[in-house]
């Protein structure tokens, strides 16, 4: 405004800086046009990223040079205001205090108001219970397996006992069950008969040394998809089933006991039997609940 007093310090911008900002802006426009052209001509991701990135980098250059060399440079010092408004703070307290002086049963009313507030808020939250069947914890114990259910492979073919070689690992599923269900998938391994030391009550659970375990880790629910089967004497000689998420390690020879890692309970085992056609079937129920543990889960 003509005649108005100067507010900012006098300052003369450098000519070179002006030129630099001009070029940065022109080239930024060029890069942006290039971006549009690349988009129209097939949109190669690398070129798109490069051009829009360069455009932004040039804008950054322009803005920073503007800030450092075109506009007046100042260092402003400002006094801080006090945060203590003792008079006002006191007034507010007094307003609040005086407002209920005429009420005889002030405390009772306040309690009732708090109670009403909580109850109404609680009532409004209750419909959230429709989100899921949260009382039906029995669902967490559901079991895809029962006596006689066949084990099928990835392609849905029945799994035959003679296909399972010693030292091999085969994924299997419950026939006719949704494979997305945690209780549907198994990991089947075969060990030498004399390497087995299953608990006495599990005698007969592993015909020909074929062992079936839930594939879902009891720690954090990942698929136990690694099988360690040393072919020579190493420092950790036992075969083991390992979960790749947090390396919970289970002993297939002893009934799924935890031998390393964070899992707190054994991997549930499924008793298997070989039918007259040589196919694998469940010979009973799993030894414990499948999947990650929860409050009150019964250990196998």
């Amino acid at each position: 405004m003509r005649g108005a007093p100067k507010l900012l310090p006098r300052h003369r911008a450098s000519r070179r800086a002006e030129l630099l900002v001009l070029w940065a802006l022109l080239l930024a426009s060029a890069a942006a046009v290039g971006f549009i052209a690349v988009y129209a001509l097939g949109a190669d991701t690398q070129w798109l990223g490069l051009l829009i990135g360069v455009a932004f980098a040039l804008l950054a250059l322009g803005a920073i040079v503007t800030s450092k060399a075109l506009v007046p440079q100042e260092r402003k010092e400002e006094e801080r205001r006090s945060f203590d408004h003792d008079r006002d703070d006191l007034d507010i307290a007094v307003y609040v205090q005086e407002s209920d002086e005429g009420i005889t049963r002030s405390r009772l009313l306040k309690t009732a108001a708090a109670g009403a507030g909580l109850t109404v808020a609680g009532a409004l939250l209750v419909p959230l219970a429709s989100c899921g069947p949260f009382l039906d914890v029995a669902q967490l114990r559901r079991m895809a397996w029962h006596r006689g259910r066949r084990l099928v492979d990835d392609a849905g073919r029945p799994l035959r006992a003679d296909e399972i070689e010693v030292g091999s690992m085969t994924p299997a599923f419950a026939e006719g069950v949704d494979r997305k269900r945690l209780d549907a998938s198994l990991i089947v391994v075969r060990l030498h008969d004399d390497d087995l030391h299953l608990p006495r009550e599990r005698a007969g659970w592993a015909p020909h040394g074929i062992l079936a375990y839930s594939k879902i880790c009891t720690h954090a629910g990942c698929a136990v998809s690694m099988f360690r089967y040393p072919l020579y004497d190493v420092n950790v000689p036992r075969p083991a089933l390992v979960c790749p998420c947090h390396y919970s390690t289970f002993d297939p020879a002893s009934g799924g006991d935890v031998i390393f890692g964070p899992a707190g309970r054994p991997l549930p085992q499924l008793p298997v039997a070989v039918d007259e056609r040589g196919e694998l079937r469940a010979a009973g129920r799993m030894s414990g609940p499948v999947g990650p543990s929860w409050w009150g889960v019964q250990e196998g």
């Binding site: 400002e78 954090a220 136990v224 998420c245 999947g291 543990s293 409050w295 250990e299």
Partner: protein, 471 residues
């Protein structure tokens, strides 16, 4: 012209005095004050790229047969969610650029927030009167972690599914309510129904971003109320604030930073591949992969899950607290409780209820620095333990031995680090050296015989003016 515009607005709103004050708001200069701004601009990029992605993403677990251009997956039965992420990556022009920029922005967002939080901790910026700003910041850090996790979980690829089943297990592991809560959230046992995915989606694109946006606004408003803090310098004192005003100097500078952040994120998004979901394949609960890692900011949780021994208290055959609780819920609870309660703890321990507009250098408060170094080393060690499977795969160091070493080291190293930090602080305080630039000089006294002798400051007055606190 501008005058007439300002007149127009003022005569309709009467708010010119506030606008004028804001235009001349003073920003003190220090590189470390830019970390929060970087986080702010990452958030802007996240919102912008995220809105674009919502136009193409379909948060549904309905089955479909993939017919797109990525040959190896053609004919596979996948979810609509996974199909739409593949389409964003291969079918829509610039879709992959935006998706990768979005993912990179999330990772950089959390780097910036974390470094900003460390800066605030070690300079004592959380002290009175800035506690509210600090609490809001810690809450945003929590929300940002959840938001990032929700984001990469939505792709329904193998890695996102592995992350979700771990999240499910952690929810299940909560004492008393875990099983019920998991059924409520997932609408049944894992993997739940498509309802769960639409909930995760609305949380990711609306609830959490809006919550972050509100906290972010409160964060900025509370900074303006208290004004910025500053390091002690030639003119900088408790009673003033010295720096560059918003208009014209600082506005162009921060605009430059915003453009620079966008430049880096788009260059990363265009040139550096991130989360190629087509290589992971669709999620099946019966599948998993070795060496899988979450996004970096969840590494501390995977580390805690891995390090926890197989401790699972139970009565008879009934589990009381499943193991996943310790690493997945208890550990973050401890970390965030520490962060949230530290201003109160420090006030209690020091009995210091004064205002602090001048920042400490880390050395100025050796105890706080030692506690912070110890605490963040603890979290950092656990974070590194999370990568022990990668170390095994790439460097062939036994996983089991690594875990055993870490289990002891996460408690020993932080104590040693804290002790060293305290000694270093005290030494720096005495010598007034800059840790990187060496001595900035100091007062000397000429001796009668012609030699010189340093005049040492008394270590009992740690808040003495430090002439070389600024460049």
């Amino acid at each position: 012209m501008i005058y007439r515009l300002v007149r127009f607005v003022d005569t309709r709103t009467g708010q010119t005095p506030i606008a004028k004050k804001l235009l001349r708001y003073v920003f003190p200069d220090h590189w470390s004050f830019l970390l929060g701004e970087i986080a702010l601009y990452c958030f802007v990029v996240l919102v912008a790229t995220g809105i674009y992605l919502t136009f193409f993403f379909d948060p549904s677990l309905q089955h479909t047969v993939y017919q797109g251009s990525y040959e190896p997956l053609r004919g596979r039965v996948v979810s609509e969610a996974y199909r739409s992420v593949l389409d964003i990556s291969f079918r829509y022009k610039a879709g992959l650029l935006i998706r990768q920029t979005h993912h990179w922005a999330a990772d950089v967002f959390l780097v910036a927030i974390t470094l900003h939080m460390l800066r605030v901790f070690f300079t004592g910026a959380f002290r009175k009167p800035r506690e509210i700003t600090y609490y809001g910041g810690v809450l945003m850090l929590m929300l940002a972690m959840f938001e990032g996790f929700a984001g990469y979980s939505l792709g329904d690829d193998l890695l996102s599914g592995m992350g979700l089943v771990i999240a499910y297990s952690i929810v299940m592991s909560l004492p008393f309510v875990g099983g019920n809560l998991a059924l409520l959230i997932w609408h049944g046992p894992f993997p739940g129904t498509t309802d769960f995915f639409s909930r995760l989606y609305i949380a990711h694109v609306l609830l959490v971003p809006v919550a972050i946006g509100i906290l972010l606004s409160m964060h900025l408003v509370s900074i303006v109320f208290t004004h910025h803090s500053q390091f002690r310098g030639r003119r900088e004192r408790e009673h003033n604030v010295v720096g560059t005003p918003l208009w014209p100097g600082y506005l162009f500078r921060t605009l430059g930073l915003a453009f620079a952040v966008s430049a880096v994120l788009f260059l990363l998004g265009g040139l550096v591949q991130i989360n190629p979901v087509w290589q992971w394949g669709p999620f099946e609960p019966s599948q998993s992969t070795n060496g899988a890692q979450p996004d970096w900011y969840l590494g501390w949780l995977i580390g805690a899950l891995r390090l926890m021994p197989d401790w699972e208290p139970h009565i008879g055959h009934y589990t009381l607290i499943p193991n996943a609780f310790w690493g997945g819920a208890f550990f973050p609870l401890v970390v965030f409780s520490f962060l949230l309660s530290w201003p109160l703890i420090e006030r209690r321990l020091t009995g210091d209820h004064r205002y602090h507009h001048l920042l400490d250098r880390p050395r100025d408060a050796p105890w706080r620095t030692a506690v912070g170094v110890g605490f963040f080393t603890w979290v950092g060690m656990i974070f590194f333990a999370g990568s022990s499977d990668r170390v095994m795969v790439e460097m062939h160091i036994s996983y089991t031995s690594q875990i055993h070493v870490y289990q002891a080291a996460v408690f020993i190293v932080p104590l040693v680090a804290a002790w060293i930090a305290k000694r270093v602080c005290e030494q720096l305080l005495r010598s007034e050296m800059h840790p990187l630039r060496g001595s900035g000089g100091g007062p000397v006294r000429r001796m009668p015989d012609g030699g010189f002798e340093r005049v040492s400051r008394s270590p009992t007055t740690p808040r003495a003016p430090a002439p070389n606190a600024r460049k």
